[in-house]
Amino acid sequence: MFDLFLFIGLPYAAMMSLVAGSIVRYKSNAFSYSSLSTQFLENRWLAWASLPFHFGMFVILSGHLLAFAFPNLWSILVSAPAFLMVVETLGMMAAGLCLVALMILLVRRFVDVKLQAVTSHLDVVVLLILLFQVSSGLGVAINHRWGASWAPGALGPYLHGIFLLNPDVSYLKDMPPLIKLHIVLAWVLILFFPFTRLVHALSLPFLYFTRAPQKVVWTSSPSHVRFEKTVAMDTERRLFLKASLGTGVAVALLSLGALDKFFRYFLKQDLTNAEEAHILSQKLQRLKQSAEERELELERMNKDMIFVAALSSLSQTKGKYFIDYQMRPALAFRDQDGFPIVLSAKCTHLGCTVGQDVDGQGRVLCPCHISYFDIKTGEPSLGSPAKDPLPHLGWALKDEQGSLLLSQDSDGRREGSADSARLERSLLFIVKRFS
């Protein structure tokens, strides 16, 4: 029952009071639409309190209005964590400003003699209601978190119901007392609005931005300076405002859109499991490759001779790949006399690895740009993009016991001899001093 009074009766009473009261007041006593400013009586504290209060109030009221007028849009916007963070920070900062400012506004009225004289009961009541409202709002934010999520869903429909003359209290029935207090105080404020100095809020200086600069003539300065000085002062202020507006909008847009992306550049990147696994396996592969390469390098540094294959396993038509002393790919064949043919497999054109199959004319093919190389001479065939021959490598044949049988340097000079039986069982090596 009480709920019905507080959340249906009171709101309608408040709104009627607001509308009717404001109009009646304006018609009967238009000049009373004043903020009753005490600026001429006490300037310093007022500056420190009034400006922050108005700024904070503007931020808070805009946020509330946006959320209640467009609850769906607000819910979508608020689902972006960055946006929510910004909104909550701004809101808390604004509330803090308002709180401190209101307290200063209140205290200064009691402390300053001149102000005591002009302060009425209604002034104090207004300030107190505002103070309680901001405090309860802060209390709601702290004790009943995530207001950005639950408020549009509950209060949005409630308010819509009020304005569409179809009020529904069920949304607020189970709300905690602090929230109910906050809502009630808001309606109370609206109820009292036309009777207090708050009516000054209804006269907003929109025309300021577009009207021509006022010519205020100061009687204290020489006349030829008067005009220049005042116009300049006024235009300076406009320029400053336009400048702040421009850069403010730019910075706001950039923060919303671009800067958070650059901020996320520095955070831990969230990768899916599959992506992490892929990167890790690639790293592992590279490490293995590096390890293998180092092993090969070490072998080539330490050993004077490196085993390639058993001579009997080599073929005339299919070469065996191995890595030579310069860490290049190389091929080993056997010619028709039974001796090994060992040559570099790094194509002299652009370095592709040459194929291992020997064609009918005794040539191997580099598939990258189609160059044919004769395996006996190493020379590229006519018309091949490669111009230089594949160099032959020096080799040595050892028997199973390790004694040297035959060797040939890279120019083709042979040393040693062996019968065919021993040759058949020999092992092919490449030799460091021939490389």
Binding site: F262, Y265, L267, G351
Partner: protein, 370 residues
């Protein structure tokens, strides 16, 4: 006694005229500074644009520094990680690439227009000298930075350029003939381009060159601010505008617009799409080399002549140009702006033709000679 005094006195007078510290006052540097307005006034903005692109390079470079790993096994993978996995990594990397090309383009235009406008005339010789130093440093930035991604075109193009230094050995007598190889190995750090090269190019690109650049830039900017904008054309300009706020405003407007354009380009157009993809695969020392290895476009004016003309011709040309570059304020001291413009046009034409048509010219030559 008086001879010695006058020589010292002359030296002091020379430098005090070139670096007029007495002009470092708010009045002469800001409130009273004027910029001539004439048909070549557009060229006054080129230096500022170059500075804008350098700033972009610095900032994006620092971003990249957070993820890049300067080892031969991880460099390419770290760049791929930035490009595909780090939020906005692709944008940062692409901005860095686009901005480097834009910087060099603006730099060349700035140099050529400054030459044509005879901005190096007394007392602005030091501006020209510091500017020439900046030119060399910028190209060094380009050269060292190009190697860092450690892909096929990076490593192979670096190899090709360094190998051409070795070529000079053929023209030197006796023991001197091994000097170019020795120099090449100092630059490389080892017998062939590998980890040692990558490490030192990284150190150069990230620390040494920036420090040197700041030094030269400081001198260059100080000199420009103290002397103000040069006359630019032969007749004294009828109009001139105030440096502050009008010129600087237009300068910042241009920067804002240009930055927007470069940003959109970087967002939508990967620089690598202009080249074949095999060039950007990880460098494989034991594998094949793809087609189309060549240095960056801003080196074409050096690279194609090297491929076409005999080596000694190019070396001679480069030697004369390098010394000539620094001596410009004295060589062209009494040259009229008309002649300077003609020379500037010739240089510009050479650069444009070599850059756009170098490949074509090379193929024509190759075709007719083979």
């Amino acid at each position: 006694m008086s001879e010695r005094k006058s020589k010292l006195w002359r030296t002091i007078k020379f430098f005090s005229e070139r670096i007029p510290l007495h002009k470092m006052s708010f009045e002469s540097m800001v409130s009273k500074k004027e910029v001539p307005v004439h048909h070549m006034s557009w060229a006054y903005y080129m230096g500022g644009l170059t500075l804008l692109f350098f700033s972009i390079q610095m900032i994006t470079g620092i971003f990249l520094l957070f993820y890049y790993q300067p080892t031969v096994s991880d460099a390419h993978a770290s760049v791929e990680y930035i490009t595909f996995f780090v939020k906005s990594g692709f944008l940062v990397r692409n901005l860095h690439t686009w901005s480097s090309s834009c910087m060099i383009l603006c730099l060349m235009i700035h140099m050529i227009t400054a030459f044509a406008m005879k901005s190096f005339a007394r007392p602005r010789e030091l501006t020209w000298i510091s500017g020439s130093l900046l030119l060399i440093l910028t190209f060094s930035f380009g050269f060292t930075g190009y190697l860092l991604p450690w892909h096929q075109i990076a490593v192979n193009a670096t190899k090709v350029v360094l190998q051409s230094i070795e070529e000079a050995g053929r023209y030197l007598p006796g023991a001197l003939s091994t000097l170019p190889t020795y120099i090449k190995e100092i630059i490389q750090g080892e017998a062939s381009v590998g980890q040692a090269t990558l490490s030192r190019f990284y150190a150069l690109h990230v620390v040494v060159l920036p420090l040197l650049f700041f030094g030269a830039l400081g001198l260059h900017l100080l000199s420009v601010q103290l002397h103000g904008m040069s006359q630019g054309i032969d007749k004294l300009a009828k109009k001139s505008e105030k440096f502050f706020p009008f010129f600087i405003l237009k300068d910042f407007w241009l920067w804002g617009l240009v930055f927007l354009v470069v940003f959109i380009l970087s967002l939508c157009l990967p620089f690598e799409s202009f080249y074949s993809y095999p060039l950007f695969e990880a460098y494989d020392a034991l594998g094949s080399t793809p087609d189309g290895i060549k240095p960056e476009w801003y080196f074409y004016f050096l690279y194609y002549p090297l491929e076409i003309l005999p080596f000694w011709v190019v070396m001679l040309g480069m030697g004369i140009s390098s010394i000539g570059l620094f001596m410009v304020p004295w060589i062209f001291k009494n040259t009229s702006r008309k002649v300077l413009s003609i020379i500037a046009w010739i240089i510009a034409a050479y650069l444009i033709i070599m850059t756009f048509f170098g490949q074509l010219i090379y193929e024509i030559f190759k075709g007719s000679h083979s």
